[in-house]
Amino acid sequence: MSNQNSENVNFQSVTKQLENLLFQSQKEIELTVQIEDLFNVKSRYLGRKSELSELLRLLPSLEQEERSRVGQLVNQLKQTIEQLVEQKAQVLRDKLIELRLLQSRIDVSRPERQNWRGSLHPLTQVQDRICHVLTRLGFDFADGPQIEHDFYNFESLNFPKNHPARAMQDTFFIHPEVLLRTHTSPVQVRVMNRAKPPIRIICPGAVYRRDADLTHSPMFHQVEGLWVDEEVSLADLKGVLRTFAEQMFGAHTQIRLRPSFFPFVEPGVEVDVSCLFCRGTGCRVCKNSGFLEVLGAGMVHPNVLVNIPGATPRLRGFAFGMGVERIAMLLLGVNDIRLFFENDTRFLEQF
């Protein structure tokens, strides 16, 4: 540094020196790469033993006017250096953060960890969906045994002994009077026996029939609905089923009722819904009919309503039932019912 001849200081030389300092500090700040070094640089230029401090000590030897001008210049220089240091510090801090982030970089393309993944059985999922729609319509759950007495499964449901209608449901017997329920309808009677109308229930559960092929399983699941009250009619049945069909299979799903026969209802109907695949125009799934058969329903037969203690003649009811497997096969595109009961995890994990 060249300020040994401080006595000979004059304005020009001081300003020159200040310019030099600015130039030098700028350069040094620029070259600094460590944030700690940066603060050393700062104290070297602005600290108590810095050249600048030395210069300030010479100030009294200057003229009054010059002194104040130099004072301003010194302040400017101080501010400039401080700004430069601060700017550089910010850059270095950013770099440091960036570096740390970079070090914790991950490979997002790497596959996920194959943790144990559980799932609900597809039949449970479909049954839950059915029940969810129906409970929102005001139905509550009811349940009954799967091994039933002939009385509940047939007799009280207007299937007399040895009646041809019993041949529709090939039955597993435990005993001549005790059998695996062939439908969830016995739950209707059990509820009727103990409940006071209005009754509004759904009964989901396993049922059994001696039948096995691609679309029939000896054990399968039904969800049955029952609504008993004064003045419920076929119009209410249609309204409920239409709402159900729309919520289950999508808006604008149409329903079609066809006369059919189930001993515990009169009138009895089969309920078709417009095909979910072709929207009614005809395709392979619906065999070009535009409709899929998914439900049985009807107005509860008076011979069944008598199971309600103190039933009045004005009491009406409607009931409907559907096979969970049938709907699951349609919704999930499963073409062999046995897959549901084989429980291969490679099948289960698809749902």
Binding site: C131, F151, F173, D236, P267
Partner: protein, 821 residues
Amino acid sequence: MKFSLNALSEWFESSLTPANLAERLTQGGFEVEAILSNRAALAHTYVVEVLHCAPHPSADRLQIVTISTGAEQHVVVSGAPDIRVGQLTVWAQPGAVLPAKQVQSIDIRGVTSHGMLCSEHDLGVTNEQGGLCDATPLGRVGTCLVDTFLADTFFEVGVTPNRPDAMCHMGLAREIVALAKARPRRPRVVFQEKAADVGERVAIEIADTQGCRRYIARAASEVKIAMSPLWLRARLFSLGVMPIHNVVDITQWVMLEMGQPLHVFDLEKLAVWQGKQHKLTVRRATIAESLKLLNQQDVTLTAQDLVIADARGAVALAGVMGGQESAVTAATSHILLESAWFESQAVYQTAKRHHLMTDAANRFWRGVDIEAIAGASERACQLLVELCGAVISRGEIDLSPKKRSSPEVSLATNKLKSYMGISLPKEEIAQHLSSIGLTLKSSNSESLLFEIPSYRADLVADVDLIEEVVRLYGYQHIPERLPGKGGAYQSATPVSDFERVGSLRQLLASSGFREVIHYAFIAPEEEAPFRPCGVTEPVTLMNPMSADQSVMRDSLLPGLVKNLHHHAAHGITDLRLFELGRVFYPRTSQEPAASVYDQALPCEELRLGLLLTGAAEQGWGVAQRESDFYDLKSLLTHICTQFGAAPLRYETTHLPGWLHPYAAASLWQGEGDQQRCVGFAGQLHPQALESSAPPVWVIDCEVQWILEAALHATRRYQPLNRFPSMRRDLALVLGCEQPIGPLMDFMRDYWATHQHEGCVLEDLQLFDVYQGPHVPNGHLSAAFAFTFRHPERTLQEKEVQTSFDALVAALTQNFVVQLRA
């Protein structure tokens, strides 16, 4: 049931296409499951005349035949026997697609055969494959078979059990008339009665008036047994009935046409009664009476069996099957034609008892129209004259022990409205019902009274009439309405079992387990190893589909173990499965039942079965660890916490044989007298598995305690402690046989029973168990983490240390443990 549109059309006139007719039937409750036609098969087949016939030069059994279609001549090679020049037969031209083959122009041993000559079997119209089809009845030379009576359309119709009246062509045609607004037709039945009065030949007695309400007998002589004409054989064959000979074919056809099962006796083989006359009696069989049936089966009859008997004994099982002795044979010429009404249950019981559910028995069981049996008898006579040259005796014997009356049913219009949701004018109601044969007898301002035709025995109450009105009115015209009032069924619990079981399912699924649903019936050898204590035998099916589905499961484990083997066979050894399903046990006399009916039922219980085997964690970058008991325990604790159940107690007693005796626990709920074993958790006994696979961990437990707990669980907020906690770790070396649970219980109890100036042991964790170098053989090192906290102030290092040291000292005094250096 299959119907011929040709035969149906004899009963109505309509311009609707088969598809439209089928649609009307389906919409009317008679679901047409399939529409079939043989037109495509007959499309390129023609009636031809054989012009010339010569042996094939290089094949002994082949003929070279020149035929004429009228317009052109072709050379065809045929292997049929007895080809006569001048005969009319059927030729399928190249391109014809017959049921069994595609016809082409082919070279047969050096001679080009242009098409083929057909037997009836080749054409698919009958099972006759002996010789060439005799085309004489089919029309002139050159006629395409599509234009003959052989061309037909068939409906496969699902007739519901309430409509036996529609199980014949006449009956279904009646429905078509009503549903398709077609014009009814009634085929004329005329025949001459020439021989002596039937009463001179036979006498009938109905001794059992309950089992037989009407019996019509007619007699015929000079019957010539022969093959039926082509139209009849083709019709029977197409409807699934094998033609036999003209007399049997006639009875079969009249049954398909008019619904009435008929039977024919060889009159001369019946026992003679009073001179030249024969007598038949309808009665119940005597005990141990026997009968050889048409199908060669010998049956020993019971006193419940309804039979037709001559003076010697039973000659037919009424409504089921005739006897061999009196059956029509090729030599028969005098016959007795039976057209009768047998009671449904009598026929059903007999058919069931002797395993003879014949078509006739099935029809009597379902119900036959008592008024239609005379018409059927006449129709059969007409055909006997036409096809067998029979001479019919004058008159008929028509016995009807009870007076028959037509039932009447009244329909209240407001009841109809309450079912339909809309009201219909009375005229419209009457119109709909008269279209299906009901007669309006009277009406007043509130109701209409209808007479029911005899063939609609299913119409007994007003709701039956309501169904008919709605069906004919059309469901599509019923408005849609959402019920606006009426409360829900009051269930016993605020949250149903279904919903709580659903939550449990969700919890298990989100804990990494896959739900499975297995059949409730299993093989006896699968059931036995896992049979619960106290169950002496499983609930067994009387009529299983197969032996491996013959007993009801009393545990969910057989299903899970079978599943394990299934996956092992596919190389999948890491499994986490659960099933929430019912199991079944025979009811013991102590168990209460809700009703007399329920007393007869087995017990059912919802259980949780769970299986876990293989790696505890999967994927890259995780430590390899096999699943173990503590994974089960962790899950059970999770369940208890989530459902608000008290913590389970784990005991090593009461273990069933299928569990590893030293790697399993029984699970207990409740205290003192209330304590109950709710299930088991542990390793399956290696012997319970066929393979020596890695350990398989299972849970088999009741579900009710979880659901109960969820229902009654009350949770109260505990204020959060804001003061800092203090942690102390403790490592102990102890013998491997020393259970850690009691140690930890001691630590907790000690802290709870000693004053520590309000300092609480907030948490105690076992955080490491170590065996290996630096720990003596037969010992292990267990490390515990204590978390202390004071509810009202910050703890001081010194006070905790003093108390902690006291606890450690007490530990070492009470247990054989050492502090780990």
